[in-house]
């Protein structure tokens, strides 16, 4: 086979291949091996960070599909996470259902809520849809707040949850969680990649680019838009459920609009229409506050006190959104692609046309 450039595929068969070039296969294999051996040589704190990244990634993948591939802008992701969290609370503390059942239930309920939240998308596009999802977010959070006020220890304190157990294994230690989450993430990512490279993915991208034309070509808008919402909500709900078990507490205060925006930031930073981008973005945004914290070590001690650190951490997410949208709209995935292309074309370099004298 001729040496095709990294980003260009010359046949349908090739286009459907997930990792067409040998070096990509090697890279992914190495990455998985590194991921498996990582906990052995790292501190518990680092493992905990990785767990947070994995949890965020699952949710980010959901949003990547909804907004990145299907083009339906949604500010309601925090609400879906809340659905997962509160389903966990209700089913595990009140009904004492086992972990597997709760996880499955969270997924199903998430799918159902996703269906409901997706209904406005059949009527609205663009900004109006974003506003509908905003309204949905507040509705769900309102319900959650009411629940917490009524059934929780108090309106503001969280409801605690025990560690889950699968068969003989109790997920209490961070390292055990690490492997569980890694496995789950790999499965979910593989699932998403497959969704995206087959019919649903193509339908979504058609809807994103020009939904009227897609409809004219026979893409069932209702079915695929709702499917996108359902997948997104399911993944977010699963993520929320796992987060609840991981942190052993659920409180409605966590599910703010800012959290939804954080997830949006993940896919903006990572790259909107890309699975790899979602993962990269999730890791970047999750680690960002910790990075800033580390950065503050170099600044005068006094800056740590008061709310400056917190303020900067908050602002950093917003700044990332702005900077990436202005200067790198296709995100980190695009940066990676450029690196790939550079090495692929080396030693030849693509020379832009000489500009005419002005």
């Amino acid at each position: 086979m001729s040496r095709t450039p990294t980003n260009l595929r010359i046949s349908y068969l090739e286009a459907n291949e997930v990792l067409p070039r040998p070096y990509q296969k090697v890279a992914v294999a190495l990455l998985l091996v590194a991921a498996v051996v990582l906990p052995a040589g790292s501190s518990t704190f680092f493992v905990h960070l990785m767990n947070l990244c994995f949890l965020a990634s699952i949710g980010a993948l959901g949003l990547a599909i909804l907004t990145g591939y299907c083009g339906q802008i949604s500010l309601g992701h925090a609400a879906f996470l809340a659905i997962g969290g509160f389903t966990t609370v209700i089913l595990s503390t009140s009904l004492h259902l086992p972990f597997a059942a709760v996880l499955a239930a969270a997924a199903l309920i998430g799918a159902f809520i996703g269906l409901l939240v997706g209904l406005p998308s059949l009527r609205f596009r663009g900004v109006y849809l974003a506003i509908s999802t905003l309204a949905m977010h507040y509705s769900i959070i309102f319900l959650a707040t009411t629940y917490q006020a009524k059934f929780g220890p108090s309106a503001t304190a969280g409801i605690s949850i025990d560690d889950p157990s699968i068969g003989f294994l109790t997920l209490s230690d961070d390292r055990i969680w690490y492997y569980f989450l890694l496995l789950l993430l790999v499965v979910v990512t593989a699932g998403c990649i497959n969704l995206v490279r087959t019919r649903p993915g193509r339908a979504w991208m058609a809807i994103r680019d020009r939904d009227i034309a897609a409809e004219a070509l026979g893409v069932d808008l209702t079915r695929y838009k709702l499917l996108a919402f359902m997948v997104s909500a399911t993944l977010a709900s699963i993520s929320g459920c796992l987060m609840a078990y991981y942190s052993n507490v659920v409180t409605v205060e966590k599910y703010t609009l800012d959290l939804a925006v954080t997830y949006v930031a993940m896919i903006v930073v990572g790259g909107m229409g890309s699975i790899m981008g979602a993962l990269m973005g999730a890791i970047f945004i999750t680690l960002l506050p910790f990075g800033i914290d580390a950065l503050f070590d170099f600044l005068p001690r006094s800056w740590r006190f008061g709310s400056t650190l917190f303020g900067v951490q908050v602002g950093a997410v917003g700044l990332c959104i702005i900077l990436f949208l202005l200067f790198e709209p296709k995100g980190l995935a695009e940066v990676w692609r450029r690196i790939e292309v550079y090495f692929d074309r080396w030693p030849f370099r693509y020379r832009p046309l000489e500009r005419a004298r002005r």
């Binding site: 083009g71 506003i131 509908s132 925006v261 949006v264 303020g311 917003g318 959104i321 202005l326």
Partner: protein
């Protein structure tokens, strides 16, 4: 009478916010999700500049607010919104969301998120029938709001610049071909909208307080704009009144806690029965 006073001032606050949202939508098809934050930051700026002048004359504070509007509004447009003009619809939305977060963090970092109340000229109060008290500030607020709206209306409908505004909003390329400096028109839109937001923030700061929580008035403002119609200024006034009235009644008659959530309830209802608002044009729904 106190009912009328409170609702009136709340209406002014929300209408000004809604007007800002509508102006930005009319000018650039942009829904500004940072409007609440802009208002509160503007309020803080006003507060800080009033501190510098001994509170005896509010004029320096007003000047501070105007400078803030010009600088902030102008730089948001020239630095950010202008660069994303051709891009898909979600880019400006996400950009404004990013700006909202940065502004919120500015409140935390610069003003330490202190609860701040603006009070200038509270002392000489007017006692009205029914035991209500109105400060001069309250009266000035209402007067200013009315003046703002009247000026804006005249500007947009009677002057050539107003017609240029609307034309530029619809088709910046064509406007540029016909000699309009599109950058100037759109910057002006942002400056006016920021000024309206600042005014609203000052009003709110005078009646309630400014902090990171108060940015939720942005949602109320957005709801008011939607109720009235995203492309209708007269709708902004009506929408502001509707939201203000609903909130007041909810606090008094139903449940104060619910009043926080009320704007989004109204939002839900509007999106279901009449998404283009009371005075908006239906075609706008597809234009996005």
């Amino acid at each position: 009478m106190e009912f009328a006073a409170t609702v009136a001032i709340l209406t002014c606050t929300y209408s000004l916010l809604a007007a800002g949202v509508v102006i930005l939508y009319k000018a650039g098809r942009v829904v500004n999700f940072a409007h609440g934050e802009l208002a509160i930051v503007g309020g803080y700026v006003f507060y800080t500049s009033s501190l510098m002048t001994d509170a005896s004359s509010p004029w320096l504070a007003v000047l501070g607010a105007v400078i803030f509007s010009v600088v902030m509004g102008g730089s948001i447009y020239l630095g950010m919104m202008r660069r994303v003009i051709g891009e898909p619809f979600y880019v400006p939305i996400l950009l404004t969301i990013g700006i909202a977060i940065v502004l919120k963090s500015a409140i935390i970092v610069i003003w330490r998120a202190n609860h701040v109340t603006i009070d200038i000229g509270v002392a000489p109060a007017l006692r009205l029938a029914g035991g209500a008290t109105l400060s001069y500030m309250d009266i000035a607020s209402v007067v200013l709001t009315i003046a703002f709206f009247v000026t804006l209306y005249l500007f947009l409908s009677r002057t050539r610049t107003g017609v240029q505004f609307r034309g530029t909003a619809e088709n910046p390329l064509l406007a540029s071909q016909r000699g309009v400096n599109v950058n100037f028109v759109l910057s002006l839109a942002w400056v006016i909208a920021t000024f309206a937001a600042t005014l609203s923030g000052v009003l709110y700061g005078g009646r309630a307080f400014l902090s990171t929580e108060s940015v939720t008035i942005g949602l109320a403002g957005l709801t008011a704009a939607l109720v009235g119609g995203l492309d209708s200024l007269r709708g902004a006034v009506v929408g502001g009144f509707v939201v203000a009235l609903a909130q007041y009644l909810t606090v008094r008659l139903i449940d104060p806690v619910l009043s926080e959530a009320l704007p989004f309830l109204i939002l839900l209802v509007m999106m279901t029965i009449r998404p283009w608002g009371l005075f908006g044009t239906v075609e706008e729904l597809d234009r996005v």
